[in-house]
């Protein structure tokens, strides 16, 4: 008996019951006169819904046969569903609990979908989230590879050739490599993705237009010519409007989700008994 009382006080059970209610609302259209438990009425609305479901996959209405099969399957599902509920098979089922939690969250997210920013709100959001929307720097480069442990004189020699004649055929200097000899304006992600971490950072400190080196990548030593740098910049709202709006909505959705949860939470008295489980702190 004590167990049952405790179970009834279990907040998750309440939560679950509320979730179940919504689940029911979806599955059975709430009407003023619910049918007796052993009657299943397949209303025209329901049939239309089944047909629409078919249509949304196949972009055509179902044939008579297909519709009949769907109705039969629906009846089968409905009977199993009711019997399962009667047997209490929905209780303590992790899948159902998780699914209902998910549905509750979809619900709040949908509510948040309805919000649209008032004047100035997006500008403020953009300004407050500079880190997210900032457009990173890009640079273009040429490089000559000299292997992992090159002779410094060879590098110096190559540099002096290129300094005396910047138009010299640089493709005859250095070692054969599969690394690209030049790269158009590229983000740090692309440059570091090819030459390894921090290569981009090193290049930003080099004078543009000149052959310089040695510069070290993850593969070895290079001499490099930075062709151009486009610095990082903050885009105006117009340029990133869609992205800012989407992000603003996502942030609002989280806010609404938390507010809604807080409202629900207020209705429950929660008691946490002494923590029995081992935690990381206890080790």
């Amino acid at each position: 008996m004590k167990y049952v009382t405790r179970l009834l006080r279990e907040p998750l059970l309440h939560f679950f019951a509320i979730g179940g209610l919504i689940f029911l609302l979806y599955t059975m259209k709430a009407g003023p006169n619910p049918e007796p438990a052993d009657t299943i009425v397949v209303e025209s609305d329901r049939i239309e819904q089944l047909a629409n479901g078919f249509q949304s996959v196949w972009r055509r209405p179902p044939s008579d046969d297909e519709l009949r099969t769907m109705i039969d399957e629906f009846i089968r599902e409905e009977i199993y569903y009711r019997e399962a509920l009667a047997l209490g098979l929905d209780r303590n089922d992790t899948v159902i609990r998780q699914r209902l939690r998910q549905k509750m969250e979809f619900l709040t997210d949908t509510g948040a979908d309805l919000l649209s920013p008032s004047a100035g709100e997006l500008e403020a959001y953009l300004a407050a989230n500079e880190k997210i929307f900032r457009i990173g720097p890009r640079l273009a480069l040429m490089q000559i590879y000299f292997g992992e442990t090159p002779d410094p004189e060879r590098i110096a020699g190559s540099l002096s050739i290129l300094h005396s004649d910047p138009e010299a055929d640089f493709s005859t200097l250095g070692e054969r490599t599969l690394l690209p000899a030049q790269l158009g304006l590229s983000s740090p992600k692309t440059v570091d993705g090819i030459f390894g971490q921090d290569f981009f950072e090193q290049l930003t400190k080099l004078p543009a237009g000149e052959w310089v080196g040695p510069v070290r990548s993850t593969y070895g030593v290079h001499i490099v010519r930075v062709l151009g740098i486009e610095p990082a910049r903050m885009p105006p709202l117009d340029e990133v409007y869609e992205a800012v709006l989407w992000d603003w909505k996502a942030a609002k959705a989280l806010e609404v989700r938390e507010l809604h949860y807080a409202r629900l939470r207020e209705r429950f008295t929660v008691e946490i008994r002494a923590v029995q489980a081992k935690t990381g702190e206890g080790r």
Binding site: N52, W58, E66, K103, L115, Q182, K189, G193
Partner: protein, 645 residues
Amino acid sequence: MSRLNSIATLLVVLLMALPAAAQDTGTPSAGALSGAYTGKAYSPYALRNFPERPLWGDSHLHTSLSMDAGLFGNRLPPRDAYRFARGDEVVSSTGQRVRLSRPLDWLVIADHSDGMGMVTDIASGKPELLAYEQASRWNKGLEKGGDAAVQAALDLITTFSQGKMDPDMFALYSPGSKLYKNLWEKVVADAEAFNDPGHFTALIGFEWTSLIKGNNMHRVVIMRDGAVRTRQVVPYTTQAPVGSPDPRDLWKYLTNYEEKTGGEVLAIAHNGNLSNGIMFPLEAQWNGTRLDETYITQRDKWEPLYEVTQIKGDGEAHPFLSPDDEFADYETWAIGNLDVSEAKTNDMLAGEYAREALKRGLAIETKLGTNPYKFGMIGATDSHTSLATAEEENFFGKHSGYEPKPGRMSHPFMENENGVIMGWQMVASGLAAVWATENTREAIFDAMQRKEVYGTTGPRMTVRLFGGWSFSRQDLDSRIPVVLGYEKGTPMGGDLRVMPKGAKAPNFMVYALRDPEGANLDRIQIVKGWLDADGATHEKVYDVTWSGNRTPGANGKLPPVGNTVDVANANWTNTIGASELATVWTDPDFNPAQKAFYYARVLEIPTPRWSTYDAFRYGIDLPEGAPTSTQERAYTSPIWYTPAS
């Protein structure tokens, strides 16, 4: 700002033309560039229409929207999955901060989708709704914006969740009604939000989860299109009569999608290793239906790729099928089917592994006229954590129950009377590299369609493979061998051109560059499969280039590269192996009358396996049976040879 931009662009254009121009006066020592380059423009860098670098991505990731992922405690929706793939730090479902070593270029979220009613039209003030007092009240609140709007939204949700919504109005939103919006639309909307052409691509897709008595027949479906087309349908399911578990019906759905929307779509099967022999049938499908014209042509048409490696096992080769391949026993899961409801027997294996399927394809083509298994190969994670982690030192497991924690290795992942798969057997794999000309949905999809892709077990090594009839060592020494690769041959995923008169055997220009943040390379191998005059299939693995001064022993086998893994400290060094490997290889056993395929397998030097990192970081012992190190690898799409008829 834009002026600076255009100056920089001009500078790039001008300077890029220089090396070519300089050859007029310089002395081209190798002669390779000027002699062999026959591009459309004088400048070797202008009018380039080949891909410059592989774009890395995961074509198979689940988020909290997938029922099973949610069940295992995944709390991260698509938004977090995209942010993570893009390189942002996120907090995992188990509360751990996590970030990729470097961003991915693209992602396909492939969740299972089913309907969910959503209330979306109130804000737009639809007249038929504003007749309802509640709708009109909420609408006013929402229009005010700011806090009033938040309160209105909250009020709406609460009213709804308490069942106090006007029943007539509520009916307008029940599933099947015109205002019903399903989860698929949300999936599409999220992809649209994160798709950033040129920087990060979010391809729209879903997973069709066909399971026949526990035997895995799953396919990931990927669309080339944006919201306008993809929203015209909802994902295909396996429930009759709308859906079906038979791939023939999936192909009908794909046909229908293209016909009705004008879009493009493809499907990628995975985990043949858990299909108990039914993934790549030779004669008949699992239900006894014999392979016929429809099956082979449709499969060939819709399934250009196969996901060859992922968390639930590597599916390239199996030692039972490839006894002469000493690297075939790599992270295989040959215990049973997906739910281990039926144990594995050796006779099932031929219908499960990619190399054998490629061979079967040649035999079927000879018999029935089309090769249904003419697929390219990729890797993907199939992770259910919303986190596309395929790196050994940063592996977040199959699902949220196996995110990093001390017990995850020694806990059974699946267990019943037929066998057990332990947590440590999860594979930190894989990724797909796509040779796309630009980072857009269209370019990535098109590269997948032409199979110019390869898969790895996680590392990002660059691999090129070209097949032709006249490649020479000198071609490789040219500054931009890739230009010659495309000029003189066919890239991975293609067919060898018709054998020219006088040619004796095809040759392959193959080269690989190690992951810039990863381990050196051990060797490149070419895997050849062929069909003899009696209709029997064969395979052979050739070591074609390798690091160091090793020479093959009397048995023809190249000695192992060595192993620098320090197990106790989960560390290794790049003191063995090579940063780059390249060669031109000619098939020494070529018979022009025999159908054949060739693909490259690139092996890294041994590095610590994810379980070794776990043991080190948690200060625990490795479970029995867990290997301490792993030789990660890349598998390219094959190049096929067909005799002229």
